[in-house]
């Protein structure tokens, strides 16, 4: 043991004071010749044991206080072996990069690993020489730097460190090291070091190049896990698809489970929850270092709509990836009927070839049935969420009546035209289901206009689309300038007969010449979309443009009342989410999985008469379902299930693979880390002070207790 102020140890002589005071007190006792000695002796015998114990305790407590007081003022300390590198003792400029990525939330020995990492970082900051300067950077992707410049204010750095919390984002060491290097630029110290406190999970180091490490400041890695193996199992993906075998509301939820352990996982419990309620439970075997899939089939109760499915496996030390959620569309809308008005024996020349391909693409959840026009009358349309009529020459009166009933009952109808279409017959038989009566077929007169470099040049005159209006839900998923649609050329299209404006009808897309390209009408409880050109390449090259696929898929969802595919897509923690406002929505509220909510107001830019129709939500910092509510101009607030979205953990954070020794950036610099075994000073006076207080309290309690005893007796 050592002392900062050893001279104060002279005060230890005061340890004999209580004894001396006790002896002096005895000498100064007043002598009294007393007659009732016998009574006195009897009374003394009765209380002597208790009194002697009290006197002994008081003497011990007071002597201990007299010893502890000078001892504490002498500020004792001890040297103990430190787990910090020797280089930490040098005067330097240092940036601590604290790994706050999702994997640091795993438990190691009962406590989250992040706590151990933070404690290690705190010990480091406290251990640095007093003239060192420190900055603090977090390693997770997109995280701000709590201390973004070098600071000699140790309390500030420690305060910022204490305020840190582990995130659910993935690690981005390349970005963090870049930030740390920037902070160290212009440092007055010759020694510049970056201390990375991390579990050395390989994920997150991919973008750190040896060249960048060699050119930058010296890097020292502190591993709070001490290389302890981490056996993890995770739900790495979750998908939902229609399950017709379970009826119209049947869904199949497929979960993929990865086992990163060296031993196989047998009988791993797995549970399916739907909207928070457990609906199925099973077991799955996952080979060591492998993956397995588990498929649950379930009929959703409660009818069509959006549901949240969640799969949970038996917990391990990292529960964050033991569950995963996704949205489930339990709706007839995902069943699509296509009526092929111009079938061909050559598949690629078929009228609906591109349409079907677009609806099936990208792992979409559409169930597609294709028929000929003659089969339409006998079909039960109610089982389908959307019906596509592609280049159908003329509907029979029975078919037109059935389609009208279907649309009025809530169904969705998409009509595309072509050279087979008899406009007059349509206007006579099926006028009620047309948003606008069909007119003459027209060939484009305008030149094809500009086109991107490398595009196949078609010299036929063609129309292009006018700039799109993303306020329409059908188009909200498209980029602002309508990329993917703007390049499409229309060689022929059908004009529509003029009608008076009606609130239930609106033009979604227009040609540059002003003619309507896509018209929407609400009929009864359903919707009809009329495309004034073909869905094959006969009149237009739209089917081969990037915008065709999302346009068709969004149209099918829109008609079926299902959420947009963009909305249904999963986000990863840290991703941003654009949410479109509908109708007279004025504000959007996003409720996070932990119950916190944020209100978002669409921004207004200078020169714009009205606010934009989308808001951007950026706080996707936890995995789970984010609910969305909208406040209308009249103050009413209602749920927007169509805009709800799921945020998932980045699967790379589940992989416990450690960074190979050869790839460790701290091996790039040979010197520095080596040196004599470091020691750190363990200050003892705080504990001694606490003991002093406890002793004083004990002494007071003893005195008080015996005084009370006297009064009570």
């Amino acid at each position: 043991m050592h002392f900062l102020a050893p001279a104060l140890l002279l005060g230890l002589a005061a340890a004999v004071l209580p004894f001396i005071i006790h002896r002096i007190g005895r000498r100064r006792a007043r002598p009294v010749r007393f007659a009732a000695m016998e009574l006195l002796m009897r009374a003394e015998r009765e209380v002597s044991a208790r009194r002697r114990l009290r006197d002994a305790l008081l003497l011990v407590a007071r002597t201990a206080i007299a010893i502890a007081l000078p001892l504490a003022f002498a500020r004792p300390f001890a040297h103990v072996r430190s787990d910090l590198p020797a280089v930490a003792a040098r005067s330097q400029s240092a940036v601590v990069v604290l790994d706050d990525s999702a994997s640091m939330r795993r438990r190691a020995g009962g406590d989250p690993l992040f706590e151990a990492a933070r404690a290690r970082a705190r010990a480091l900051v406290e251990h640095l020489s007093p003239d060192s300067e420190v900055g603090l950077v977090l390693a997770s992707e997109g995280a701000p730097a709590p201390v973004a410049e070098l600071s000699g204010d140790r309390a500030r750095v420690l305060g910022a460190l204490a305020a840190t919390a582990p995130s659910a984002r993935r690690a981005d060491f390349a970005g963090a090291l870049r930030r740390a290097t920037q902070i160290l630029t212009g440092s007055p110290h010759a020694d510049r070091l970056i201390y990375v406190v991390t579990d050395l999970q390989a994920s997150g180091w991919e973008d750190v190049t040896p060249a960048a490490v060699a050119a930058g400041p010296e890097i020292v890695i502190l591993d709070p896990s001490d290389g302890a193996p981490w056996e993890n199992r995770a739900v790495t993906s979750l998908e939902a698809e229609p399950a017709p075998e379970e009826g119209a509301q049947g869904i199949a939820v497929v979960a993929e489970i990865a086992n990163y352990a060296a031993a196989p996982a047998r009988g791993l419990g797995i549970t399916l929850r739907l909207d928070g309620a457990e609906v199925a439970r099973g077991f799955v075997d996952v080979p060591a270092g492998g993956r397995a899939k588990k498929r649950f089939v379930h009929a959703v109760a409660g009818g069509a709509g959006t549901h949240q499915a969640e799969v949970v496996i038996d917990h391990d030390g990292f529960p964050l990836d033991d569950r995963r959620a996704c949205r489930v569309e339990a709706s007839r809308g995902l069943r699509v009927l296509i009526v092929d008005g111009d079938p061909r024996t050559v598949r690629t020349e078929d009228e609906t070839f591109f349409l079907e391909a677009a609806l099936r693409a990208g792992g979409s959840s559409f169930a597609i049935t294709t028929i000929l026009p003659d089969d339409l009358a006998g079909r039960d349309l109610e089982a389908f969420g959307a019906v596509f009529l592609a280049n159908v020459s003329r509907p029979t009166p029975a078919a037109a009546a059935a389609l009208l009933r279907y649309v009025e009952g809530g169904g969705g109808l998409f009509i595309s035209v072509g050279d087979k279409v008899d406009a007059d017959a349509w206007n006579q038989v099926a006028k009620a289901i047309l948003p606008q009566p069909l007119g003459l077929k027209r060939s484009a007169a305008a030149p094809p206009g500009l086109h991107p470099e490398g595009e196949t040049v078609d010299l036929r005159p063609a129309e292009r689309l006018a700039p799109i209006d993303r306020r329409h839900p059908l188009l909200s998923a498209f980029p602002a300038k309508g990329e993917g649609l703007a390049s499409a050329r229309f060689f022929q299209f059908m004009l529509l007969s003029p009608v008076s404006d009606a609130p239930e009808r609106q033009v979604v897309l227009r040609y540059e010449s002003g003619g309507p390209a896509l018209v929407e009408a609400e009929i009864g409880r359903g919707r009809v979309l009329l495309l004034t050109t073909t869905v094959d390449r006969e009149w237009t090259d739209l089917p081969i443009r990037p915008g065709f696929l999302p346009l068709v898929q969004e149209a099918a969802r829109f008609l079926a009342g299902a959420p947009s595919g963009e909305a249904a897509a999963d986000l990863t923690v840290g991703d941003k989410r654009e949410i479109a406002l509908q109708g007279d929505d004025s504000r959007i509220e996003v409720v996070k999985p932990n119950g916190e909510s944020r209100w978002l107001v669409p921004p207004t830019h200078a020169g714009e008469a009205r606010a934009r129709h989308v808001v951007l939500f950026t706080e996707t910092d936890e995995p789970g379902l984010y609910r969305v509510r909208a406040a209308r101009n009249d103050g009413a607030v209602s749920d927007r299930p169509d805009a709800a979205f799921v945020v998932t953990l980045d699967g790379r954070e589940s992989n416990p693979a450690r960074l190979a020794d050869a790839d460790r950036p701290d091996r790039a610099h040979a010197p520095g880390a080596a040196g004599p075994v470091p020691h750190r000073r363990l200050e003892l006076w705080h504990a001694l002070g606490a003991a002093l207080l406890a002793l004083a309290l004990l002494e007071s309690l003893l005195t008080l207790r015996f005084k009370r005893g006297r009064v009570a007796s």
Binding site: A29, R30, F34, A35, A36, L40, E44, E46, F706, S713
Partner: protein
């Protein structure tokens, strides 16, 4: 007016103290509570304050123009032995008179009262043996000798009240009143037997247990080195008396209660007083109690 013990102690002589105590005891009283009521006339006695005026012999008053009281057979010649414990422990007194002084006041007052009534009173001052003895007499100078002997008494030696009682038992050949003043703190075990023997011979026995308030309450408030007072008793105790007060009070109360029971069984009158009590009040209480007993 009843004077407290400190005021009594300031008076110049034991005779004055005795008179003041008796006057205080009889203040407001109209009859001598000590008078008997036997029907067998024995003799006349000159009236003294406190005598029952109903018993004045008015015929005799008419003849000699002086007031006489009729006395009856059982009232005559009641010999009283006043036994005063003068051992060292009776010398304790911290804030007031010592127990010995207090016992002297009471004995003197009783002797004075008896002399006024013409009853013979004797005095025996003892420690471990008889230190001074005056046999009961009625002659004129006897009371003066008795009061002088009480004035000169001092505390010393160990206590042996049993021996003193045995001495009195030999001399009290008729029915006598024996009054013992002691603190009973170191009373030997045979004292109770001696009291019973005396009582069985037809003697009337009264035991005044006198204690200092310190011996009842132990009201000390600082570290004290207690030392025994009796000779050859080397006991001492260094202690904070506040730690012992409650236990001491219980022991003191138990001692008094034990002697009260012993006296009750032996048909001996037990009277307790502390040296803080006004002696006149103690005397009056004693006289009242005897008056009730005789009636």
């Amino acid at each position: 007016m009843m004077l407290d013990p400190l005021d009594i102690a300031r008076l110049e002589s034991m005779a004055v103290r005795a008179r003041v105590i008796v006057e205080g005891a009889f203040a407001g009283m109209h009859q001598n509570p000590h008078a008997g009521a036997s029907i067998e006339f024995s003799e006349h006695k000159e009236y003294a304050p406190g005598d029952d005026i109903r018993r004045i012999d008015w015929k005799a008053a008419g003849r000699v123009d002086r007031y006489y009281i009729k006395r009856f057979e059982d009232e005559t010649e009641m010999r009283t032995f006043l036994l005063v414990d003068a051992s060292a422990s009776m010398g304790y007194g911290r804030k007031g008179p010592s127990k010995l002084a207090y016992a002297s006041y009471l004995a003197a007052a009783l002797a004075y009262l008896l002399a006024q009534q013409g009853d013979p009173a004797g005095l025996l001052v003892f420690d471990e043996g008889t230190r001074h003895y005056l046999p009961p007499r009625t002659r004129g100078g006897h009371i003066r000798d008795l009061l002088a002997a009480l004035d000169a008494v001092y505390p010393a030696g160990r206590t042996e009240p049993g021996r003193a009682l045995a001495h009195v038992g030999e001399m009290a050949d008729r029915r006598s009143l024996v009054v013992l003043f002691t603190d009973l703190l170191d009373a030997p075990a045979d004292l109770a037997d001696r009291l019973r023997q005396l009582r069985s011979r037809g003697n009337d026995v009264v035991l005044f247990q006198l204690l200092d308030p310190d011996e009842v309450e132990l009201p000390f408030d600082e570290l004290t080195d207690f030392q025994a007072m009796e000779p050859d008793d080397a006991r001492r105790l260094l202690v904070d008396p506040r730690d012992l007060a409650a236990s001491f009070q219980r022991e003191s109360a138990a001692l008094r209660e034990r002697w009260r029971q012993i006296c009750l069984e032996a048909r001996v009158e037990h009277r307790f007083a502390t040296t803080a009590d006004p002696p006149a009040e103690v005397l009056r209480g004693f006289l009242f109690a005897r008056q009730r007993t005789r009636k």
